[in-house]
């Protein structure tokens, strides 16, 4: 099939960018969206134009590297699907596809579709861990964890840190990401001792990085490749209040 792409091209962090039109010919419906971009890039190189830069690695929807706005939707039109897992069979011959990078003050564009998401690392660094230095762990089965809690913690821990939640949120909020990490750790007995300070520190870090606030639009949940639930955001708010009132 043949597609028309409009892709955001931006030379580097300081340059101004613009949408540029490309033709994508000979697109096979079994290709993934990123493979489609590969093919477009090969053609561009042939023509002597610089290929489109985009982050990617695992191409299995787990590393969280990939991510772009595809026709105005983070990771494209399929629910619970990262861009690398989106296949071209969900598009039609002749479609026009707009591709833009994540847009957020906290995620500056550094080239084309590549953004800097290190703000997420700093949020985790501010408290998204359990302080257990190597060697100090007790025997694994000495603390039982109710299966429900463990399963729910896993639901939250499934976050791949792709940033789609921020990109899709009309407020540019990182609440879903932050709440997922807080919930994962707080649901486990091992996470209890640091429960209060964790949420206070992580919320502060989130604000420091200039993310917006959550007004419960639920765009994040809808685009999240791991379908992380907004209920975790409520849980984060509860944890915050609890820590404050304690």
């Amino acid at each position: 099939m043949h597609l028309s792409l409009y892709v955001w091209r931006q030379q580097n962090a300081t340059a101004r960018g613009k949408m540029v039109r490309y033709d994508a010919d000979d697109i096979n419906s079994d290709m993934s969206f990123l493979e489609m971009l590969d093919v477009v890039n090969w053609k561009l190189i042939d023509k002597g134009e610089e290929p489109i830069a985009f982050d990617h690695d695992c191409r299995e929807g787990i590393c969280g590297s990939c991510g772009m706005m595809i026709n105005g939707i983070a990771h494209g039109p399929r629910r619970a699907t990262a861009a690398c897992q989106l296949h071209m069979r969900h598009f039609k011959d002749g479609d026009i596809i707009h591709v833009e990078p994540w847009r957020s003050r906290a995620f500056p564009v550094i080239k084309d579709l590549v953004v800097d998401r290190s703000a997420f690392d700093r949020i985790v660094g501010s408290g998204g861990y359990i302080s257990v230095s190597t060697g100090s762990a007790p025997e694994a089965n000495s603390i039982p964890v109710a299966k429900n809690d463990s399963d729910l913690a896993m639901d939250a821990a499934a976050c791949i840190g792709c940033g789609a939640c921020v990109a899709a949120c009309p407020n540019g909020s990182a609440s879903l990401f932050t709440a997922a990490k807080i919930s994962h750790l707080t649901l486990l007995p091992q996470g209890q001792p640091e429960r209060g300070q964790r949420v206070m520190k992580m919320v502060a870090a989130m604000d420091r990085e200039h993310f917006g606030n959550c007004t419960m639009h639920r765009e994040c949940e809808a685009v999240c490749p791991k379908s992380i639930s907004v209920n975790f955001i409520a849980r984060m708010n509860r944890e915050y209040l609890r820590a404050l009132l304690k």
Partner: protein, 637 residues
């Protein structure tokens, strides 16, 4: 070059504990003064960086990803082994040790494997304490499942995302240290050279992938935890950016490369669908528990699978291996599939796949039970292929998955370069000629959490290390070389994309140094690789500049290294005139077509030493002795 494995003396059960006691310690107040350069922040790297920083060392940690959390380790699905014996099914450290040595087809170092089995237990404790949400039972206690190559249930897992959860645990520990200032993290920074001063590894030269700046970093020791090189084949289950550059540059600075030809090929992957294919996707081999593998008996049978009556199907694994059937080990299953397809009986558009059929299991257990067990895998398959495996049999084909080869290390994980340590998949590891499922994660974490912090401290305590600065001529020279190389790539201005050359190399390697190797094919590959390499150096087209993100430029550097490594792999495969584990030499098989080891000649690690441009590498052999697990012939009949 001398290969001294430095295995401590004493009974195998006590070697490590004894060694720990014998090792020297660094005075706590001096630790801050030592800078350790950690390249890689996957499971092996992040765990070590965090642990070393907790001890008080000053750690500089590098990765080419935008965040440590994205390392390839994230993709591991199945699980991690540990000899906890929570099932009471007869597991023990000794049994895990035994299974691993046997699974590796007697090409690993016994003492290392024993230590790995020993430490496996601590890994689970550590990870649980970090908050890794391993699967649990209703009792609240940890669940286990069984995995290929073992008769006990010792695999811990977190849904189908075990690698992700373990990596996040290590990553969180690492971020804690970064936040506290003990670790300085350099993401999007690629190590391009190792710097050796007065015979010791003292630093690296790296390129900042955003600004393009080439920068030097000095330290007291260098650790490479840079993962495997399966991507030399272009198509593999590895993440797209996984590469051999770090270990290859270290090799060229004098680190011996061990068993480069040992590559594991996984039987249950989703087949290639076209030339644009960028990578292959693995599906858990647990599928083989209920799926039956078959192809039509008739060559070129064009009927759809459901139209082919059972008598006209060849359930070739069940036919050839009546006792193990569809559950034969990875290498056996992979080879059988390739043989069938080479015979022209493969299915699918390109004839490069075999059926994995659940019809019988669905009939027997019901679709719901199958959905419960494999729902997410079926969904993944359908997402990629657009075929519904509940109705049409899956199509599978083997794909490159893991490299057992890597830089040679002694018992302390130090390479043949003093002060250069190598951990995780990057070293030649404890898996011999074949790795058992769920043991790579175990090895990476054992190395990072529990071995390196001891052995590296010992090295620092014993070694007199003068202050070095990045102004040292060795750094300057290396920086210059790298800049020249980068400019060279940009200056070739040829016609071909780097990917197209990589694809060509991958195909050649897959055909001749893949599942099945023979002398003729390897010779052919060895004659063709230099041609591809020449084509690469003269005819690639890398656009853009070197002072901003340039992914094609990054790729060019990596493929240049793959083009050299491929040759070493073929050389190694040619030299090893035996079949062992996943190295299958056609000339060396039993009358009924099974791998035939040659313990007389090849009970050794093959460690290759770089001898300079245009000179053949020098082979050194580390003899392997099996005192505890006597070598036997594998049989799955």
């Amino acid at each position: 070059m001398e290969l001294n494995p430095k295995v401590p003396s004493g009974p195998i059960e006590q070697k490590w504990n004894h060694h720990c006691f014998e090792m020297k310690l660094v005075n706590p107040s001096n630790k801050r003064k030592h800078t350790i350069i950690m390249v890689g922040s996957g499971l092996a790297g992040a765990s070590a960086a965090a642990s070393l920083a907790e001890l008080g060392y000053n750690v500089l940690c590098f990765c080419y990803h935008d965040s440590p959390r994205r390392a390839h380790s994230i993709a591991a699905q199945g699980g991690i082994n540990a000899a906890k014996n929570y099932r009471n099914d007869g597991d023990s450290i000794y049994r895990l040790f035994y299974d691993t040595v046997k699974g590796g087809d007697f090409r690993s170092r016994e003492a290392n494997v024993y230590r790995l089995a020993q430490l496996s237990v601590n890994i689970i404790d550590q990870c649980v304490a970090q908050g890794v949400p391993f699967a649990r039972e209703y009792s609240g206690l940890l669940d286990n499942r069984s995995f290929g190559g073992a008769q006990v249930s010792r695999t811990f897992y977190a849904r189908g995302q075990t690698g992700q959860q373990l990596l996040l645990g290590a990553y969180q520990a690492l971020e804690r240290q970064i936040d506290s200032g003990s670790v300085k993290m350099y993401p999007r920074t690629e190590m391009l050279d190792l710097v050796i001063i007065e015979g010791k590894a003292r630093g690296i030269v790296a390129r900042n992938l955003v600004s393009g700046r080439i920068e030097s970093y000095a330290g007291d020791a260098v650790v490479l935890a840079t993962g495997g090189y399966g991507n030399v084949f272009y198509l593999s289950t590895n993440a797209k950016n996984s590469n051999a550059t770090a270990i290859w540059r270290a090799y060229k600075r004098g680190a011996a490369f061990a068993n480069p030809c040992f590559t594991q090929i996984h039987p249950t992957c989703i087949p290639v669908s076209g030339h644009y294919q960028s990578k292959l996707t693995l599906m858990s081999e647990s599928l083989r528990n209920d799926g039956r593998i078959w192809v039509p008996k008739l060559k070129g049978d064009q009927r759809r699978p459901n139209e082919i009556p059972v008598p006209e199907r060849d359930y070739y694994l069940e036919r050839r291996y009546p006792s193990f059937g569809n559950l034969v080990p990875r290498d056996v299953a992979s080879r059988a599939a390739k043989e069938i397809c080479d015979n022209g009986r493969g299915v699918g558009e390109h004839g490069l796949s075999v059926y994995l059929d659940f019809k019988e299991a669905i009939g027997r257990l019901g679709a719901d039970v199958i959905r419960e067990k494999y729902g997410n895998l079926f969904e993944m398959y359908e997402r990629i292929t657009d075929e519904n495996p509940y109705e049409v049999p899956m199509r599978i084909y083997p794909a490159v998955h893991y490299t057992m080869g890597g830089l040679w290390v002694d018992y302390n994980l130090m390479s043949t370069i003093t002060g250069l340590f190598v951990t995780g998949e990057a070293n030649f590891s404890d898996h011999g000629a074949n790795r058992l499922g769920a043991s790579a994660l175990m090895q990476g974490l054992a190395d990072g959490y529990f071995i390196l912090p001891y052995t590296l401290s010992d090295y620092l305590a014993r070694t007199k290390l003068d202050q070095v600065s990045t102004q040292h001529p060795s750094f300057q020279q290396s920086e210059g070389e790298i800049a020249t190389r980068v400019n060279h790539f940009l200056g070739i201005k040829g016609k071909r994309t780097v990917d197209s050359i990589h694809q060509e190399l991958g195909k050649l390697l897959w055909d001749h140094c893949g599942l099945v190797r023979n002398q003729q094919g390897l010779r052919l590959a060895l004659s063709q690789i230099p041609e591809i390499r020449a084509e690469f150096w003269h005819n690639i087209k890398v656009l853009g500049s070197d002072d901003e993100i340039n992914q094609a430029l990054e790729k060019a550097g990596r493929v240049a290294d793959f083009l050299e490594l491929a040759e070493l792999m073929c050389l190694d495969a040619l030299e090893r005139e035996e079949s062992c584990g996943c190295h299958f030499r056609e000339e060396c098989q039993t009358p009924d077509g099974e791998a035939q080891r040659d313990d007389e000649r090849f009970c050794n690690v093959s460690a290759w030493e770089y001898a300079g441009e245009q000179r053949p590498p020098v082979l050194h052999k580390e003899k392997l002795a099996f005192e505890y697990v006597p070598p036997t012939q594998r049989s799955y009949k």
